[in-house]
Symmetry: C2
Subunit: 421 residues, 2 copies
């Protein structure tokens, strides 16, 4: 069994429809948008079985194609997961509406009144991989902030995504949000994705969510502005003045709590003096938690069973229970290493010396800097931003966890009575 494709419009036609719908959506009231989100949430719960049925098709195909377990886990839905993302939409409905917020206003000497207001971006293009919950999450955040969304999910989740979007479309019919505000690119070909890259006239921003290769492909090929997200090659720097217990607790948490997420630690940078003093404690903790160490020469000397590290160990995310270990003789060397290999996501220093911590946080170029805490807190929920559409690792527009305000821009509105220059 296979659910039929939703429509056969070209990608450009879909993007145009999204743009037209954005005009209507952009001026809805907060209550109209919230009602729509709650209606969609109810529908996803009522129709959860059709999502599960579609998901089984994707899972079966995934099994046939021999996808690895972690991938299958991300793809797999059950009743609880579906109810969770429905509940997520209700939580987004509760968040403050970022639109029509007058950010500032003033009057010029000539009497011209100036207002700076927050408005939707317009049309968001979302390019993502296996997690089907992104379909509902991203649509919810886009609609709440008054934006249309064009969804292009991974081909391995196409049946699941299609089922979710069909439910969203049906539910929106009973709301003020036009169903065209949610476009689903129901195609398996790469060309469809590439068309989104250059559709500047219809799409205001592309948000890629997935692995480094997806993100790089978007950044390198898109002329539509991109909000880069997610690759986190995060470091824990254990300074010579680090408290051993804090250092080890934080390292183990950052590495093992959820190794596959972007705010997990990938490299331990450790001061040689601290390592000499605490190598037994560290070795014990690493072993106890099943961590495989890839280290430089000093690490190989200090710790048991260390695989010699190469360039790729420093440069890439493991997203597993592997850890690279780099020894240094100074804060500056630690900063230089992060500067060379970091992805500007989350970086931590463990030290009892406040001055050293201050210098680290000032000089390291990243979205989130930690002193004596785990990198795992870089997350919209954990930091109190509400739901997030991704974690920006770039510097323009939005940095770190991106909540609703990241999906908005501004307009300056000038009201006069004939003013000229």
């Amino acid at each position: 069994m296979s659910i039929p494709a939703i429509q056969s419009l070209s990608v450009e036609e879909q993007a145009k429809k999204a743009k037209i719908a954005a005009r209507t959506l952009g001026i809805l009231t907060t209550e109209e948008k919230n009602d729509a989100l709650r209606t969609v949430a109810d529908a996803l719960e009522t129709e959860f079985e059709s999502i599960i049925a579609a998901n089984l098709i994707d899972l079966k195909k995934g099994e046939e194609r021999g996808f690895e377990q972690a991938f299958m886990d991300r793809l797999s839905l059950n009743k609880k997961r579906i109810f969770d993302f429905a509940e997520g939409l209700r939580e987004v409905a509760e968040l403050p509406d970022p639109i029509d917020d007058v950010m500032s206003s003033w009057t010029l000497e000539n009497g011209l009144q100036v207002e700076e207001v927050r408005v939707p971006l317009g049309v968001i293009g979302m390019i993502y991989e296996a997690r089907p919950n992104v379909t509902a999450d991203a649509a919810g955040l886009a609609l709440k902030s008054g934006n249309s969304i064009v969804l292009k999910g991974g081909s391995s989740a196409i049946h699941t995504n299609r089922a979710i979007v069909q439910i969203i479309h049906l539910a929106l019919k009973n709301t003020k949000i036009p169903k065209d505000a949610v476009q689903f690119i129901d195609r398996l070909d790469r060309e469809a994705t590439q068309q989104l890259f250059t559709m500047k006239e219809h799409i205001d921003v592309l948000i890629p969510r997935g692995g480094a290769s997806l993100i790089n492909a978007v950044v390198e090929n898109a002329t539509v502005p991109v909000l880069e997200t997610g690759v986190g090659n995060c470091h824990i720097y254990v300074d010579e003045e680090a408290d051993a217990e804090k250092a080890i607790n934080i390292l183990i948490n950052a590495k093992t709590d959820r190794p596959a997420v972007c705010n997990a630690a990938e490299t331990l940078i450790v001061h040689q003096d601290w390592l000499n003093e605490n190598k037994n404690l560290l070795a014990e903790a690493l072993q106890k938690h099943g961590i495989t160490v890839h280290g430089d020469e000093s690490a190989q000397e200090a710790l048991p069973k260390v695989i010699p590290a190469n360039e790729s160990d420093w440069a890439n995310e493991y997203l597993s229970l592997d850890l690279a270990v780099k020894t240094v003789n100074s804060l500056d060397d630690a900063i230089d290493h992060i500067d060379q290999y970091g992805t500007k996501h989350s970086e931590a220093i463990i030290t009892e010396n406040r001055e050293t911590a201050r210098k680290f946080m000032q000089l390291v170029d990243a979205a989130a800097l930690y002193h004596n805490a785990s990198t795992r807190f870089t997350d919209g929920g954990a930091l109190g931003f509400g739901a997030e559409i991704g974690i920006s690792t770039q510097k323009l527009h939005a940095r770190g966890p991106m909540g609703l305000p990241a999906l908005t821009t501004r307009k300056y509105l000038m009201s006069g009575n004939g003013q000229v220059r």
Copy 2:
């Protein structure tokens, strides 16, 4: 006579030096930065004759190459212009420092302290055309906001730009700002510019300033994030309920005050009923101000000496005393026209009907929307932002006139005592 090139480093070596210098610069105090700007301003005044001498070389070459007068005007410097941009640096020194501003701070339930602080972007790549004042203006804004800058000016101004940068470098020697924070790409080849496009590791943002073809080349080829500036295909929509005197005053001001700038009007969209009633008044004003009209059929019927308009008249900036005239029968048609041809810069409606004005300002997608005022106010100085590095026509990061805050990003600083998730 030709002033020798400053150095012979590769573009990449220069960008690396800029990045290293940015670390030092990023943590200077406000006073250290302001002192440096004032020192540079003094030096530009003291050494103005060497800038004029260099400028004469560029002007002579420009004459030989037969550049048109408007271009030569932009290229040409004199004592007053140089003193003006020196004074501009002193004004930038007076502006509030955007750096180290704690934008918000809070404490999580687990005691983790969160601070959101404003920090410099890092290294700004500035690609511009003939105006040599951009060299000093852009350097001043970059340094004040704690950023290094890599300057790539137009080849026609290379001697002038080189002379200005040599003075800046000499002056910075006596300040806390490292001279490497200002890099000048002293090359005539296009390859140098193209190398800047993809230098993501060393350059944080590219800002093109110049004509549409320069800006498009940067947007289409750069993988470094771009702050798009300046192309303004601005419209004045004269509604059926417009006051004739206001409409004509505003149109004439927006078209003729400075036709070559980006916030000048390029197209009059006029309601058919208003045109029928006011065609004589309008024709008289257009003729009196030497405006050449390119119009659609209705405009050709209503006004004398109208050149039939084609697609290019709607789509491009004239930057001259030419005006396209499009007649419409409704607000929606006016909005559709702007939606199709506008560049999201500045758009105005002239009407006595507040509801119509509100709808126009809500539905038109542009940085600046005007009701009964000239588009000429879209300018950092006019709106009270202080000096601007350009006018953003994009939606991400910065929209409209970009002052110092547009050259910054944020960091989240988390301080704990061992918190883990």
